[in-house]
């Protein structure tokens, strides 16, 4: 008997309790505390499940429905180290977000906290489940929670629009995913991931396999925000209340990739094994494209939250490269990087939330130099920007070096160079903002015609309406920011984390042992990993990224934009113009993405 299901059920129960008492409890600070405690309990339970698994995989069958002669009849949680660690990571971010909610969300009822708790529970369940349809249910649950949470600030125009495009594009994504699941069920007669993989391997890699792969991957990549499925992301993340943005940017997108990795190995690994090299090329290419588009768009923004959203997209591309290398080393690197980057990104979101809380704007130009009075946050922000550019010894550095090594081993020698450029661009853009806002140096940011329209509607109202306490920075805001940044630093310094991640990844990719354990109850063999920490090349690449980030920041501060070639600016405008905020455009791109992905996989399979 495992504690893993409790990590989902406890926050759910707390959420229903909050909702049930909502009409009677006027003060919502107490509700906020209850929500934090419930999220904390979920985090502790996730940690307990991780400890309980102890490097192995732990299988829990709901209702005690064990498989009958190798046929799964119920739903299982298959708690492997990577899944449990992701769940723990999500729950920890959830605690930080809910702490900020106590300060930021000024509503009279408890419903916000209740929905946020269900959101966290859904993400935890999504990480732990071993059943494809159950994965879909949690996927849908977290989406619905996210639509509501993003649109919560309904009185303003932008959140409403962000929530609409978010809901429309993601609904298309989940319908595509469900079609893929239906096709797979038709072929295999199973919903359990392990059993699906086993049954699929008995048949040919034909049209059904190719198309269901494209549909499932496409549906998950909508969530992960890979190009060309990414358009909704910036619209939604930029307008969500800060604590929600923190959860979305830190974990939500990354969960799309986690789901892809899970399905990639458990379901499709065996049947597509002969075509692995081609598949690798497709995924790495998609990742690189995403990373570059995200980085360029990030550097072009002047709306801080939107900038962080594009930084998220860009880094999702880099994680996709790590996972797309289709080996344990790349996966381990991506896992470490996702956690490290998620913590840094969350700290940055929290800092931006603090600026918004204080100055009621997140426009770079309007904030110019005003951050000087809260210099401590400035140090934090700039450290975060450099950590995004993989400054050692923060967590992202560790993950990035591992992915680089894996790419070199796989024969993708050009990938680390791209990664340096991308990290330098995103990190440099953020550093530029840090210097402008907190030091007031450099050429002020230009008025951005793209965000001007949102401006008029905002009416200068921040998330908080009382301006009583400008003298102090609320501890409930800077506390989580500092704690998250400290955690990101600690993550890069934990002894043995590389070896543990290596073993966990070996476990994750060993699908035959996984299926044997889940379906037949065969004990797992021992795994070992030869993964080691960063070597000389890793340090050199990191030095290049950080130096590049500084150069990018300095160039921007010196006003390089005015001297840029006209053709480059026009190309940039075209790219920005594609992010039109219109759901019809986004739906067309989603259809195109799935069609192209399917076509490419079809070519790969031959």
């Amino acid at each position: 008997m495992s504690v893993a299901p409790l990590a989902v059920l406890v926050p759910v129960l707390a959420a229903t309790l909050l909702a049930a008492t909502s009409p009677f409890v006027a003060r919502r600070r107490l509700a906020g505390v209850v929500a934090v405690l419930a999220a904390l309990a979920s985090a502790v339970l996730c940690a307990a499940a991780l400890a309980e698994a102890h490097g192995d995989t732990l299988v829990v069958w709901f209702g005690g429905w064990e498989p009958r002669a190798g046929v799964a009849v119920g739903i299982d949680f298959a708690v492997d180290p990577i899944g449990a660690a992701m769940a723990l990571f999500v729950a920890v971010l959830g605690v930080a977000a809910l702490v900020m909610c106590i300060e930021v969300i000024q509503v009279e009822d408890n419903l916000f906290d209740a929905i946020a708790l269900v959101f966290i529970a859904a993400m935890v369940g999504y990480c732990l489940t071993g059943d494809l349809f159950n994965l879909f249910v949690f996927f849908e649950l977290m989406s619905v929670c996210a639509y509501v949470l993003v649109g919560y600030e309904i009185r303003k125009r932008a959140p409403l629009e962000g929530s609409l495009t978010f809901a429309i594009t993601n609904s298309i994504g989940s319908i595509l995913l469900l079609c893929g699941i239906a096709l797979l069920y038709g072929r295999t007669g199973a919903l359990n991931l392990a059993q699906m993989g086993r049954a699929l391997a008995e048949g040919p890699a034909d049209g059904l396999v190719v198309v269901s792969y494209a549909l499932v991957a496409g549906g998950l990549l909508v969530k992960a925000a890979a190009v060309p499925f990414h358009f909704w992301t910036a619209d939604a993340y930029a307008v969500a209340p800060t604590p929600v943005g923190l959860l979305l940017g830190g974990a939500f997108s990354e969960l799309g990739l986690f789901g892809l990795a899970r399905v990639q190995w458990t379901v499709f690994h065996d049947v597509l094994a002969p075509h692995e090299a081609e598949l690798r090329a497709i995924l790495v290419g998609l990742g690189v494209l995403t990373a570059i588009v995200g980085a360029v768009m990030c550097a072009a923004q002047h709306h801080l939250k939107r900038m962080l959203a594009f930084a998220t997209i860009s880094h999702v591309g880099l994680f996709l490269v790590g996972i797309g290398l289709l080996d344990a080393a790349g996966l381990a690197g991506a896992a470490i990087w996702i956690v490290g980057d998620g913590l840094v990104k969350a700290a940055l979101f929290a800092s931006v939330g603090l600026l918004n809380d204080r100055f009621a704007t997140v426009e770079e130009a309007e904030l110019h130099g005003r951050g000087r009075e809260i210099g401590g946050i400035g140090v934090l922000f700039c450290a975060g920007a450099l950590a995004v550019a993989s400054l050692p010894p923060f967590g992202p550095f560790l993950g990035k070096t591992l992915v680089e090594d894996a790419a070199l081993t796989a024969g993708y020698a050009w990938v680390p160079a791209v990664m340096v450029v991308v990290s330098a661009l995103t990190g440099g853009a953020l550093l530029r903002v840090g210097v402008r806002v907190f030091l007031g140096r450099g050429v002020p940011a230009p008025e951005d015609p793209h965000s001007a329209r949102a401006e008029g509607d905002r009416g200068g109202a921040g998330e908080r309406e009382d301006e009583a306490s400008l003298a102090t920075v609320p501890a409930l805001l800077w506390g989580p920011a500092v704690a998250l940044m400290a955690a990101a630093l600690a993550w890069g310094l934990v002894p043995g984390v590389v070896a543990a991640a290596g073993r966990a990844a070996e476990r994750f990719v060993d699908v035959h042992s996984y299926a044997g354990l889940v379906l037949d109850g065969r004990p797992l063999p021992a795994v070992s990993s030869t993964l080691h920490g960063p070597g000389l090349t890793g340090w050199l690449y990191a030095a290049a990224s950080v130096a590049g980030a500084v150069v990018v920041a300095l160039a921007a501060l010196a006003g390089v934009r005015d001297r840029a070639p006209r053709a480059g600016l026009r190309a940039l405008e075209t790219l920005r113009g594609l992010h039109s905020g219109r759901p019809g455009d986004y739906a067309a791109f989603t259809a195109a993405g799935v069609a192209v992905l399917g076509g490419l996989v079809a070519l790969a399979v031959g």
Partner: protein, 112 residues
């Protein structure tokens, strides 16, 4: 085979509607058409020639029945559609109230 093709058709038609829609309520109902494609696909996959409905109330215990698993999945799917429609329509009503238009192409306050 006809059933599968109808499912494919519904998916494509619904997606076409979403791409070209000029009214948010129209767009939401087109999403409903896409969702209907998944119902048809799932239930068609579960159909057994000559099978009875999987309810052993008035049939002998060893009658061949159609696949009940896809039906349970479709039930969940129907609920999901209803909820998504509810949330999207709530947003649509708000959007119209705020901006005075229901044209999805009028969205894009924050873009680029």
């Amino acid at each position: 085979m006809l059933a599968y093709l109808v499912a494919v058709w519904l998916l494509l038609a619904g997606l076409y509607g979403v791409i070209t829609s000029r009214h948010l309520v129209h767009l939401v109902l087109c999403l409903g058409v896409m969702q209907a494609s998944t119902y048809v696909l799932l239930l068609a996959i579960g159909w057994r020639d000559g099978g009875a409905a999987p309810i052993y109330a008035d049939i002998p215990p060893n009658t061949p029945v159609v696949d009940p698993v896809v039906q349970a999945l479709t039930l969940t799917d129907v609920v999901v559609e209803a909820t998504v429609v509810a949330v999207l329509l709530a947003l649509t009503v708000q959007a119209h109230k705020r901006f005075g238009t229901s044209d999805p192409d009028a969205l894009g306050a924050l873009r680029g």
